[in-house]
């Protein structure tokens, strides 16, 4: 099991358009590991929140189960059975997770913290804080699938934002990311500055602010779609996911 940084942005996302789902079955072990890391990065928050909301696992247990799930998925090839014709990969992964959690509960096996699997240094504490703040922990069990999907979308966008940050860092485009970060990544609607206020703060005319924002959003959209394509099991799945996310059909 490879060590994972747990920070979603510092690992380059596969730039190839080849699906990482497909790559988890590659003959080359390095390719398989890289693909698997990409899947962990994209899904660990969803997995953790699903264990907390649907399975009502305590934070420490959910953390252990999430780690164990990914470790076993790679060691035992959980995802080899995925058939893009039958379901979206996300749905398949959630089914695998539910089966795994059912078995764990039936066997009354509660993994001791740090026991068995190699620990993935993921930010579970941060995920727990967000889960508590969102109220998902108290949500009815039937809504847990929606939380699974929501966390997946959050991971997808967070990856794309970090990729955008990396793309701009140390280049003349850094100011573009700065404008984008101050405006579009504001923690709350009330904290979002007006174009004029942002222009005054950064010493830019309003037109420049809107130009920078338009560029950053265009790039972000490209990055999200790129990552979505990589995480989809098939082209049809990619199109369906893109339609759900952006409300448009990809030509």
């Amino acid at each position: 099991m490879p060590q994972h940084s747990g920070r979603t942005g510092d690992r380059a996302f596969p730039t190839t358009r080849r699906s990482v789902v497909e790559a988890t079955r590659d003959e080359n072990a390095d390719v398989r590991r890289a693909a698997f890391e990409a899947l962990v990065s994209a899904y660990w928050r969803s997995v953790y929140s699903h264990l907390r909301t649907k399975w009502r696992a305590q934070p420490a247990d959910a953390e252990d189960l999430a780690q164990e799930f990914f470790a076993r998925a790679m060691a035992r090839g959980f995802f080899d059975a995925y058939d893009p014709e039958r379901a979206r990969f996300r749905t398949f992964l959630r089914t695998c997770l539910d089966r795994f959690a059912t078995n764990a509960r039936r066997n009354e096996r509660r993994l001791k913290r740090g026991g068995g699997a190699v620990a993935l240094p993921l930010d579970f504490a941060g995920a727990e804080r967000d889960l508590t703040a969102s109220g998902a922990g108290a949500a009815p069990e039937m809504e847990s699938d929606a939380w699974f999907d929501r966390e997946w979308v959050r991971s997808l966008f967070a990856e794309a934002v970090e990729a955008l940050r990396a793309e701009c860092a140390g280049t003349p485009r850094e100011i573009r990311f700065q404008v984008f970060e101050r405006h579009d990544l504001a923690r709350a609607e009330t904290a979002r500055p007006s174009y004029r206020a942002l222009g005054e703060e950064l010493g830019l005319p309003v037109t420049q602010v809107t130009n920078h924002l338009a560029w950053a959003r265009r790039e972000l959209r490209r990055l999200v779609l790129e990552q979505l394509r990589a995480l989809s099991g098939s082209d049809a799945e990619f199109r369906a996911e893109a339609e759900d996310l952006f409300g448009v059909r990809i030509p």
Binding site: T210, R217, R218, L220, R221, V248, R249, P251
Partner: protein, 342 residues
């Protein structure tokens, strides 16, 4: 990093905002949504002005909807009239959706305007709508979705008929035969556009609508003529819009504050416009407008045969000042004669 819920929602919303090709237009917030498209405020960098861009909605973005939106743009471009929003540009987004650029108009929808306006002001707005629709009929175009929410009244009194998304080009022979002389469009207005979608347009006689098959019902219940509601596109003509205009008239007058009952001639005007049988309606928007003008001028309307006492009352109200002056004069004169006699 972790994206807070607010930031994630905001990002999803801005990334859902369509992106026109090139860098001329930058879309801002949505300002309206119809059955087929969403209208965004946008900046036009080339000319340094705000415009409106109508983009096909993602959830209805099939080939038929694309054809409709493109047709709408072309129809609007052909109808140059103060009551119709001018179209500046048309194009296709990177994701394949059709969009068109038009003047950004600001104002209140008719039902909102009617809440705080006098009856005569509301009637004058409806009259302007009749004129605009009559103009479209003269160019062979039937709107098919006339309702208060598709009428905008601007801050300077301009009246605009919006959302021509399901308008149908039926040809001058059917759309405006009864509009009277003088309304004939210039020949260029009837030239078929180079769009496959409009291949059926013709200058005369019924033209097949390539995007409205028989049995297809498009329109708004309550404002849709029976022939339209029954999915009979072959029967749609100018009188179909006359029905919609009558429904608008009834809706805005019925919504008057205090729930005043409408005068009988006015109610008769919308009753005639709303006749289930097209032949019993006003033959054109212009004729309906003419009756509204007569009502505003306190003249007899064609839709209502007045009893004598109502006519007398109307004449009295119209010439009230003159009649009172004459009667006063006669009374003084009689008094004077009487005093001289004694």
């Amino acid at each position: 990093m972790t994206l807070p819920e607010d930031a994630l929602e905001h990002l999803q919303q801005v990334l859902r905002t369509p992106e026109p090709p090139g860098d001329r237009y930058t879309l801002q917030e949505p300002v309206g949504q119809g059955g087929m498209g969403t209208v965004y405020r946008a900046s036009d960098r080339a000319l340094g002005r705000d415009v409106a861009i109508k983009v096909l909605r993602g959830d209805v973005a099939d080939a038929e909807a694309a054809v409709r939106l493109e047709r709408e743009a072309r129809i609007l471009a052909r109808l140059e009239h103060p009551g119709i929003v001018p179209v500046h540009d048309v194009g296709v987004l990177a994701d394949g959706r059709v969009f068109y650029v038009m003047k950004l108009v600001r104002g209140r929808r008719l039902q909102e305007f009617a809440q705080g306006a006098s009856r005569s002001d509301v009637l004058r707005v409806v009259l302007r709508v009749c004129e605009t629709v009559g103009f479209a009929h003269a160019h062979g175009v039937v709107h098919r979705d006339l309702k208060p929410s598709n009428i905008m009244v601007g801050a300077f009194g301009e009246v605009l008929v919006l959302d021509w998304g399901i308008a149908r080009v039926v040809g001058i022979g059917r759309a405006a035969a009864a509009d009277g002389a003088g309304n004939a469009p210039p020949p260029a207005a009837l030239e078929a556009p180079p769009s496959a979608a409009s291949a059926g347009d013709a200058a005369t006689g019924p033209a097949p609508d390539p995007v409205t098959a028989p049995g297809t019902v498009l329109g708004t219940p309550g404002f849709m003529a029976p022939e339209q509601a029954q999915g009979q596109p072959g029967l749609v003509d100018a009188r179909t819009d006359v029905y919609g205009l009558g429904a608008i008239l009834r809706a805005v007058i019925a919504a008057e504050p205090g729930g005043q009952s409408a005068p009988r001639p006015l109610a008769a005007i919308w009753a005639r416009a709303l006749s289930p049988t097209p032949a019993a309606r006003y033959p054109s928007a212009a004729d309906l407008g003419a009756d509204i003008t007569r009502f505003l001028d306190a003249q007899p309307v064609t839709a209502y045969r007045e009893p004598f006492h109502e006519r007398a009352g109307r004449v009295f109200r119209k010439y009230q000042t003159a009649i009172i002056l004459v009667l006063t004069y006669l009374a003084v004169r009689l008094l004077f004669l009487a005093m001289r006699g004694f």
